[in-house]
């Protein structure tokens, strides 16, 4: 009996012991994946971040004063601390977009391909990745000012230093030139279906890069007019020429891949946003036909009515976001639009950077916006008093106001127009604790605690980590 038990025991011990080396393996997740899958994912995250109107992430439709909040007015009043919004945005851009792009670049760059066509395609892929990175950094630099750049995305350096915003901006322009020059067309493949914006079409990416360059040149107009002019002039020929060129990211009809705005406004069932008096007061006198796309009538009325920005505005009293926007889960996110390009060209002409006609581009920008929203009556609108371009009046006010309306579905652009040109005349939120419109995001709270020395240095360098600190391009 004794022996039997001992044998039994020994048997159990031996039989149940797998070797240690065979353990600790994650058998459910891959250690190597195709690079293009990371590129696709970065695009999804990029588009989601821009399209979102979630108050935890993207508050720019508020800060552009297209919308205001009904009951919980914190974000409209520039509170980004309570929901750590800057932290969320920083994380989304660096970790969920740029890092995936970087890894895609590393995987694709390290691979070898059997055919020359595939090798060329891979080269194109790397350049397109670079263009998207420039697009992302452009947005981050104009949001925060100085940010980690040369030392970013390196896990071996967990306290990256911040680079000067203007220096980054200039470097981004150099990168764009290299990318544009390097892309090979002529039927050469790039990402194919893994590219969720242009489906691998290389000429479209070249136009995208030129349009981005045009935008960046415009941003620099006050800060460095010479560079701005040169940049704009070199980009014009390659930029978008119609809405067909738009960089659009189409969402899918089923969760979780719908436009996040559809989640925030429709699926959530919430009633957080209504139009502002600012936009209705601009659009109503002009009888702007786009109102029907942008907003609903105020409940039980047949007028468009907005709430005072930053003040509690009962949902039952004011215009809501239009059905065109709220009922379409696939509503695309516009990364850069033709309308945007035309307004930049109008501005370049007004500044004397180019020989173009301000009015032509101004009209083209408005028309493109009408076309985009499938709204008729652009010609009448352009001809109407209050819209028709008048060279005798401030070009800033006219271009800014009309581009602000045209950028309605991209709050960040709308807010940036105000930051650059000072129009339309936006009132400060009524319950704000600061006395002017924010010029930037403050740095994430976690940077204060995780990267304190560099945080302090960057804050000092830009003139203080405040919402109201003016950034390098903001000279109006």
């Amino acid at each position: 009996m004794k022996k039997i038990l001992i044998i039994l025991m020994a048997f159990l011990v031996i039989s149940s012991c797998t070797k240690l080396e065979d353990l600790n393996k994650d058998t459910k997740r891959p250690t190597a994946v195709p690079g293009v899958t990371l590129f696709s994912n970065a695009q999804v995250n990029l588009a989601s971040q821009i399209a979102s109107v979630n108050v935890n992430m993207n508050v720019f439709k508020l800060w552009a004063e297209y919308w205001t909040e009904t009951t919980y007015t914190g974000e409209a009043n520039y509170d980004i601390i309570n929901r750590t919004i800057a932290d969320n945005a920083f994380e989304e851009w660096y970790r969920d977009v740029l890092m995936d792009l970087k890894d895609a670049r590393m995987i694709i760059g390290a691979a070898t391909f059997p055919t020359e066509a595939e090798t060329l395609a891979a080269k194109n892929q790397l350049l397109i990745i670079d263009i998207l990175e420039v697009f992302v950094y452009e947005r981050m630099v104009t949001l925060w000012g100085n940010i980690p750049y040369t030392q970013a995305l390196d896990i071996d350096n967990i306290q990256p230093k911040y680079d000067d915003a203007m220096t980054i901006y200039k470097d981004l322009l150099v990168r764009l030139d290299t990318d544009i020059a390097g892309l090979s067309t002529g039927g050469t493949e790039s990402f194919g279906g893994a590219d969720l914006v242009y489906h691998g079409d290389v000429p479209s990416w070249i136009m995208f890069a030129n349009s981005l360059k045009l935008k960046m040149g415009t941003i620099l107009s006050d800060a460095d007019p010479t560079l701005a002019s040169a940049t704009i002039n070199s980009a014009i020929a390659g930029a978008f020429t119609s809405n067909a060129d738009n960089a659009e990211f189409y969402f899918l009809s089923a969760t979780p891949n719908t436009n996040p705005l559809y989640v925030d406004l429709t699926l959530s069932g919430r009633q957080d946003f209504v139009a502002t008096t600012l936009i209705t007061d601009y659009m109503n006198p002009l009888e702007d036909p786009r109102r029907a796309a942008f907003f609903t009538f105020a409940p039980d009325t047949n007028v468009y009515l907005g709430g005072v920005y930053g003040q509690s505005s009962p949902y039952a009293d004011f215009s809501h976001v239009g059905d065109v926007i709220t009922t379409d889960p696939t509503l695309p996110c516009l990364l850069i639009s033709y309308s945007e390009v035309e307004f930049y060209l109008a501005e370049a002409a007004a500044r004397g950077f180019t020989n173009g006609t301000v009015e032509d581009h101004y009209n083209a920008g408005i028309t493109a916006s009408f076309d985009y929203w499938s709204v008729d009556g652009a010609a009448d609108y352009i001809a109407s008093a209050g819209v028709a371009y008048d060279p005798a009046k401030s070009w800033e006010e006219q271009i800014a106001t009309q581009s602000w309306i045209a950028f309605y579905n991209n709050g960040y652009l709308g807010w940036t127009v105000y930051r650059r040109l000072g129009f339309p005349a936006m009132p400060v939120a009524v319950d704000a604790t600061i006395s002017e419109i924010p010029s930037r995001f403050t740095y994430p709270v976690f940077e204060q605690t995780l990267n304190p020395a560099n945080y302090a240095e960057a804050s000092a360098a830009i003139g203080g980590d405040l919402l109201t600190t003016k950034l390098f391009f903001d000279k109006h």
Binding site: D26, R29, S40, D100, N257, Q271
Partner: protein
């Protein structure tokens, strides 16, 4: 394995009753030498067997012994044992003397090794099974509260929820700090399957810690091993201290010369009521809304609408506003409230008086009931012991539709094959069924609604009645006058009855053990043990609910179903040789040489519907509106091979020296770092042996030093990709946490000293311990700047230090013939400090919470500081130089507080300054009465409930008469408003009056976080028990051997606290992130009655 255990178990059970023989009866009385009174509870045993009995309350005993029995041994803690040769006697009277050195006290130490307590060079503390089983609870650990020094328990108050058990402070920054549980030498898993999101305040449930599966009815005693020296033989996983549980074993029941089966029946019923002291008290002056702006006229706080019903105009509640800053109540004013709009409501179409809802939400809570019934059979013969027990536990909670059911079967037995070979086995099977656990955190939590976002005009009973009548989600929080769909909050009864979770767990743990005495100085122990469970957690959202984050994608959906299946299995194989030898007459040696092989396998799968349900009330993945997303699978297999040795020398009952060493080889570390060694040494010196004093019976000093190594969590070495839901094309993503293939074991070093003494014939005793523990080279996933492309990274870094003091004082102030008063006091203080973090990092965010507060580890501060925005006390000039500093907060010219622009200010610390417990036990004849107080001093908590609830104006303290003698909610023009205490920038007292009738008057909108950080100190009367045992004389002629009645009350009263309207202990559950409250559950006060019968 499982089958074999059960088979063996039954084998023993059958075998146990075979041995019977002729017997004779011996009776007598045991008295004390000091006063001659009978001593109850003395163990009387036949030497060399497990046969025995205990004396009754008067010291009398009666025992049937076999003819060949020669010697009876009498044992009692604190008395010298007595051995009497039976000879021809049938009546034996015994006198016992107090024992100077407390010879007999044996405790169970690491690996289940029994040791004399006096020989231990480290601190342990015992708690009897009875102490933790008087009050019936779903988690026996809760009954440890206040009874053990150095154990910091935090009871979350969640139904079936987890309890945080940290011994001697947190040693790990990001890892597990929970104590380890061991039953009869076998580790049992105590994980929680709460999600990381739930722990950080996200939507979810607290599924409890699985050690609550242990049946308190089976517990004989618990021994708490606090320091690293005590636990060094367990290695890595015991660095947080160990709670050793010894289960009840079979004992002999001899009657009329027959071995018979002892039967114990226990039946209890307990009733629970919420403690209103831990619930909001609502103001009753003002109803729904955020201020007087919904209409013009006399009632601007209400919406003045035309055609409310065709042709009917009137005042309507602003339904979408989940706040109570609105129109003042006026019973003569009739208003269309939610009931007016539902045709099944008794007030359909009617405007009803504008008054505070009555009853308020405290009426939402029901009476909780706990029924527990158990039966145990046990017995012993000369060769065997056995015990078989079954317990049924059936509990309902204070929230409607909540229940927790457990069925617990356990068996243990032993059999001596020969004098030299003993085999024993134990197995427990537990089935747990939970339903309707409360949501935790901010969103989707009824308690957040009641504590933060409520309209005090709502009558909860009307919400119940409409749900009962219609089964529909008719909520007070409509989307609009003509839109019945909920905007933020469902009808709470709908949520409880339709959107509930269910969970179940089937668990088996047990072991088989062989003890083989090779020679009188060496025996070999082999043991195989297993702990395995499978669990299923299902969540539902019924069609018609408001949208919330749900399922795999966490997208906003109005309905859905998700299931999470998880299985756990741990096996341990131990082979251990024990050596035991007197080297000389005075020098005694014991040694251990052993090996432990542990394998742990956890795998899980999480699946959910996507986008909602198609068919209402059909909760199946295939009822998904959109194509379901791929399920999330995990499969983790880890193992450790350990090799250990221990040597102990005892010299003349005077000096004991221990040394241990252990090698662990872990699968979770890189191969060349996988093997690591750690030692311990301990010394115990019984100085009372050298001093002959009447007033002192025992005195000992102890000192130890130990190191413990620790390995990494599963799969932290190699990077793997995460896979988001496909977007028409396959997506992969870099993971959020960077792996690290260069990890080394982390190491805890601990130094501990202590003194224990007993005085005045053991009427007074104390045990004092001092310790210092440093854990360095921590393996942690540090939060890093996301500019690195990751949010976390596995590193080896950092050092945490814990220093502390523990006191245990026990005394018997009064001892008389029939009356005795015992007092036990526990007191402990732990000071925790983060010595260093990673590289130049001086702060690490451990968790970030809604409200903008975070829980942090900062160099020079304790782990778990609360950071957020603070008041401003300094005045600065344009260059940022401080020109003045005040001792009061600065108030801006607007009348609101100046708030720091950043959230990196330390505004609190989740760690208590000290904890204490005081237990008084009074015994009079067969009656025993005890009451337990439990203290916590210090520790802070941020209350999101107050952060929002003060802004929404629901609490009674927000409706008061201001300094001008007017209601604060009058407009300033009407004499209302308030002046925030503080100073203006020029240092003069603030005199700027602000409006008191909107969300800015207090709460989140204009206050720093620090305003809603509260001191979590408390004094609680934790429980009171009264028990009565029927004297043996009354039972002598019956077949009943013992009857005990118990009346208990637990969570009787919170005598002192500073957190308003809530229990300072309440929270999200176990884990490193404490110090944040949102929508916490109220405390349940329980009253119970139980009967224990022994046959």
């Amino acid at each position: 394995m499982r089958k074999i255990t059960i088979l063996l178990a039954f084998l023993f059970l059958v075998g146990a009753n075979l041995a019977n023989a002729q017997t004779r009866t011996i009776s007598g009385k045991v008295t004390g030498s000091s006063d001659g009174s009978g001593i109850p509870g003395v163990t009387v045993q036949v030497e060399g067997t497990t046969l025995g009995t205990v004396t009754d309350i008067d010291g009398n005993y009666s025992l049937d012994v076999a003819p060949e029995a020669e010697v009876l041994v009498y044992k009692y803690v604190g008395m010298k044992s007595v051995s009497i040769t039976i000879g021809g006697q049938s009546t034996i009277f015994v006198t016992m003397e107090a024992d100077a050195v407390m010879m007999g006290e044996v405790v169970v130490t690491a690996l289940g090794i029994s040791r004399e307590k006096k020989s231990l060079g480290y601190a342990t503390q015992e708690v009897s099974g009875e102490d933790i089983n008087q009050v019936k609870t779903d988690n026996f650990i809760n009954n440890l509260q206040g009874r053990a020094a150095g154990v910091d328990l935090k009871v979350s108050n969640n139904f079936g929820g987890s309890t945080n058990v940290v011994i001697r402070g947190a040693t790990s920054l990001t890892g597990n700090n929970q104590a380890m549980f061991v039953i009869d030498g076998v580790p049992v898993n105590n994980s929680t399957s709460n999600s990381r999101a739930q722990e950080a305040g996200g939507t979810g449930y607290d599924f409890g810690n699985v050690v609550s599966d242990i049946n308190p009815e089976d517990i004989e005693s618990m021994n708490i091993l606090k320091g690293a020296a005590a636990t060094a033989l367990y290695g890595s996983r015991a660095a947080n201290g160990v709670i050793m549980i010894t289960t009840k074993k079979g004992s002999s029941h001899v009657q009329d010369g027959q071995d018979r089966v002892g039967i114990t029946l226990n039946s209890s019923v307990q009733m629970g009521k919420v403690d209103k002291n831990t619930l909001p008290a609502y103001q009753t002056g003002y109803g729904a809304g955020y201020g007087p702006y919904y209409s013009g006229g006399d009632y601007p706080g209400l919406s003045d609408e035309t055609n409310v019903f065709p042709g009917v105009d009137g005042l309507v509640v602003p339904f979408t506003e989940d706040a109570s800053q609105g129109q003042a109540f006026d019973p003569s004013l009739n208003v269309f409230q939610w009931g007016a709009f539902d045709e099944d409501s008794p007030t359909f179409g009617q405007a009803t008086p504008w008054v505070a809802g009555s009853p308020d939400p405290s009426d939402f809570f029901e009476t909780a009931w706990t029924l527990q019934n158990s039966i145990a059979f046990d017995g012993a013969t000369e060769k065997s012991t056995y015990r078989v027990a079954y317990t049924n536990f059936d509990q309902t909670g204070v929230m409607p539709n909540s229940s927790l059911k457990k069925n617990n079967f356990s068996f243990n037995g032993s059999y001596d094959f020969t004098d030299k070979l003993t085999v024993s086995a134990a197995a427990s099977y537990i089935n747990t069924q939970g339903e309707g656990r409360n949501s935790t955190g901010y969103s989707q939590n009824i308690m957040s609604m009641f504590r933060q976002w409520w309209q005090v005009n709502v009558d909860v009973n009307e919400q119940r009645d409409i749900y009962d009548a219609t089964g529909r989600n008719v909520t007070w929080n409509r989307s609009g006058t003509h839109d019945a769909f909920p905007i933020y909050w469902d009808n709470p009864y709908w949520q409880r009855h339709e959107n509930f979770e269910t969970d179940s767990r089937d668990r088996l743990f047990g072991h088989m053990m062989i003890n083989w005495e090779l020679a009188d100085w060496v025996n070999i122990m082999g043991r195989a043990s297993i702990d395995t469970y499978t669990e299923l957690q299902e969540e539902r959202r019924a069609v018609g609910s408001i949208a919330t984050r749900f399922g795999i994608s966490r997208g906003d959906v109005q309905s859905g179903y998700s299931r999470y299946n998880r299985s756990f299995m741990e096996t341990n194989f131990d082979l251990m040789a024990n050596f035991n030898k007197n080297i000389t007459e005075d020098l005694h040696f014991t040694g251990i040489l052993g090996t432990n092989i542990r394998r742990t396998n956890i795998n899980s799968i999480f699946a959910s519907t996507n986008g909602g349900l198609v068919v209402p009330d059909l909760y199946a993945i295939n009822n998904s509106l959109n194509d379901p997303l791929a399920a999330i699978e995990t499969d983790s297999k880890v193992g450790v091979n350990g090799y250990y040795a221990s040597v102990s020398f005892g010299w003349k009952n005077l000096l004991y020296l221990d040394g241990t060493g252990r090698f662990d080889q872990s699968s979770t570390l890189p191969t060349d770092e996988a093997l690591y060694f750690y030692p311990s040494v301990a010394m115990s010196f019984i100085f009372s042996e050298m001093i002959d004093a009447d007033w002192m019976q025992f005195g000992k000093v102890r000192l130890n030093y130990a190191e413990v190594g620790s390995d990494a969590p599963f799969a932290s070495l190699i990077d793997t990709y995460s896979k988001p839901a496909p977007f028409g094309t396959t997506l992969f993503s870099i993971p959020d946490t960077k792996a690290n293939n260069f990890l080394k074991p982390e190491r805890t070093k601990s130094l501990e000293g202590g003194v224990a003494m007993n005085f005045f014939q053991n009427r007074l005793g104390f045990d004092f311990a001092l310790y210092k523990t440093n854990t360095d080279n921590q393996i942690m996933d540090v939060a890093v700047s996301t500019a690195t492309g990751y949010s976390r990274k596995w590193v080896n870094a950092g050092e945490i230090q814990n220093q502390g003091v523990e006191f245990i004082i026990t005394g018997a102030p009064v001892v008389m013939k029939n009356f005795r008063w015992d007092v036990a006091l526990n007191w402990s203080k732990n000071t925790n400090e983060v010595i260093s973090l990673y590289e130049d990092v001086t702060n690490m965010q451990l968790g970030s919470f809604q409200g903008g507060v975070s829980i942090n580890a900062t160099v020079g501060q304790p782990i778990g500081t609360i950071m957020g925005t603070d008041y401003v006390y300094d005045v600065k000039d344009a260059d940022g130089n401080i020109t003045a500093t005040y001792d009061q907060p600065i108030v801006l010219s607007t009348g609101y507080y100046d708030v720091t622009g950043t959230s990196d200010n330390v505004i609190g610390d989740q760690n208590p300054d000290w904890n204490g417990g005081l237990l008084n036990t009074l015994t009079y004849k067969s009656w025993a009465f005890s009451f337990l107080f439990d203290w916590q001093k210090g520790g802070d908590v941020f209350s999101l409930d107050q952060w929002y609830g003060q802004a929404t104006g629901i609490y009674d303290d927000s409706d008061y008469i201001n300094d001008l003698g007017n209601p604060v909610r009058n407009s300033i023009a009407d004499g209302g408003g308030l002046i925030n205490p503080g100073v203006k920038a020029d240092g003069t007292p603030n005199d700027v009056r602000i409006e008191g009738n909107n969300y800015k008057a207090a709460g989140y909108a204009r206050s720093p976080n620090v305003r809603y950080v509260y001191d979590a100190s408390y004094i609680k009367l934790r429980n009171i028990t009264l028990s009565y045992s029927m004297p043996q004389s009354m039972l002598a002629k019956t077949f009943i051997k013992g009857v005990t009645f118990n009346v208990t009350a637990s969570n009787v009263a919170i005598l002192m606290k500073n957190v308003p309207y809530a229990d300072p202990e309440a929270g999200l559950g176990a884990g490193n992130l404490q110090g944040w409250q949102s929508g916490v559950m109220p405390t349940t006060r329980n009253f119970g009655f139980s009967v224990n019968l022994q046959f």
